[in-house]
C-alpha cells in the first residue's frame, strides 16, 4: 500500500545554510483506541517510522506513535552541505510504505 506524500525542500541553498524541510503523508493514523457503533475495537493502523536520507546518509528519523495526528506533518532542519538528492521514507502498520525524493542544488 502506497500513500500520497508531499515534501517541501528548497530548490537551492547556499553551502552551510540551515534549510527547513517539511513533509506530509496522507494517512488516517487510526489510533487503535476507537470503537465502532457495535463496540468493536478498530485495529491500529499508523505510520510507525519516518526516515530522511541526504545523498544516502541518514540525517533525520522519527518513531511515530498513536498520538500523532492524522496526515502526519513532520518538519525539521538540516545543513545544506552538497548538491544532491534527499530521500524520504515512511513505513507503518499493514505493510504501509511510501517514498518520495527531492533534489537540491547547493552553491
Amino acid at each position: 500500500m502506497a500513500g500520497r506524500v508531499v515534501v517541501n525542500v528548497p530548490a537551492s541553498a547556499k553551502r552551510g545554510e540551515v534549510i527547513e524541510i517539511r513533509t506530509l503523508a496522507g494517512h488516517v493514523m487510526e489510533n487503535g483506541f476507537r470503537r465502532t457503533e457495535r463496540g468493536e475495537l478498530i485495529p491500529r493502523d499508523i505510520i510507525t517510522r519516518f526516515v530522511c536520507l541526504y545523498n544516502g546518509v541518514e540525517i533525520f528519523s522519527a518513531d511515530l506513535y498513536s498520538a500523532v495526528a492524522a496526515n502526519p506533518l513532520i518538519a525539521f532542519t538540516t545543513v545544506a552541505t552538497e548538491s544532491g538528492k534527499l530521500e524520504f521514507r515512511w513505513t507503518g502498520d499493514n505493510g504501509y510504505s511510501a517514498t518520495e525524493s527531492a533534489s537540491i542544488s547547493v552553491t
Binding site: 489510533n31 498513536s66 498520538a67 513532520i74 518538519a75 525539521f76
Partner: protein
C-alpha cells in the same frame, strides 16, 4: 440479636458499599501516571532529567485535541562535539504516553522539530531532549483541551 433498626442500617451500608465498589472505575489517573513514568524511564534509562534548554511551543488552550501543532526547539550549538541526539514527546493523559521520538544529529544545524499531535484530555505535555553528552533536559507545558481526541466513550 439484631434489631430492626440495626438491620436496616447494616443493609443500607452493604447496599451503598456494594454499589460504590461496583461503580468505581479503575484508577485510570494512577495507571496513566505510572505509564508515563515508565515511558520516560525507558527513554532516559533512569538518568536525571533537568528542566531547561528545551522550548516546547504549543497552544495553551486547545480547541480540537485531534490536531495540535507542536514545535520543540532545543538550545544547542549542534556541533559534532555537542549536539542533540533525540527529542522525545510525551503526553500525560493519552491512553499511551508516547507521541514521537525524533532522532537528530549535528547535521540538523538547528535542533528544531515540528509536528501535529493528538491530546486526549487537559493535562501536561512533556518534551525531553537527549544530548550527546548523555544529559537530559525537559520542558513541561500544561494544556487545556476542550474537544478531546482518541476517545469517544469518555474513558479518560
Amino acid at each position: 440479636m439484631t434489631s430492626r433498626r440495626d438491620f436496616l442500617f447494616l443493609s443500607s451500608l452493604a447496599f451503598v458499599s456494594g454499589r460504590a465498589s461496583a461503580q468505581l472505575p479503575p484508577n485510570i489517573a494512577a495507571i496513566r501516571a505510572a505509564a508515563l513514568e515508565a515511558a520516560i524511564r525507558k527513554v532516559t534509562g533512569g538518568a536525571e532529567v533537568k528542566p531547561g534548554r528545551v522550548i516546547l511551543d504549543l497552544p495553551p488552550l486547545v480547541d480540537n485535541g485531534n490536531t495540535v501543532p507542536v514545535t520543540v526547539s532545543v538550545q544547542s550549538p549542534m556541533t559534532e562535539a555537542d549536539h542533540v541526539k533525540a527529542i522525545h514527546l510525551f503526553t500525560e493523559k493519552n491512553p499511551q504516553p508516547y507521541v514521537m521520538s525524533a532522532h537528530v544529529g549535528p547535521r540538523a544545524g538547528r535542533a528544531r522539530v515540528s509536528t501535529r499531535i493528538r491530546i486526549a484530555d487537559t493535562g501536561k505535555v512533556i518534551a525531553i531532549a537527549q544530548m550527546s553528552d548523555g544529559s537530559y533536559w525537559s520542558h513541561t507545558v500544561p494544556v487545556v483541551v476542550t474537544l478531546s481526541a482518541c476517545l469517544e466513550d469518555g474513558l479518560i
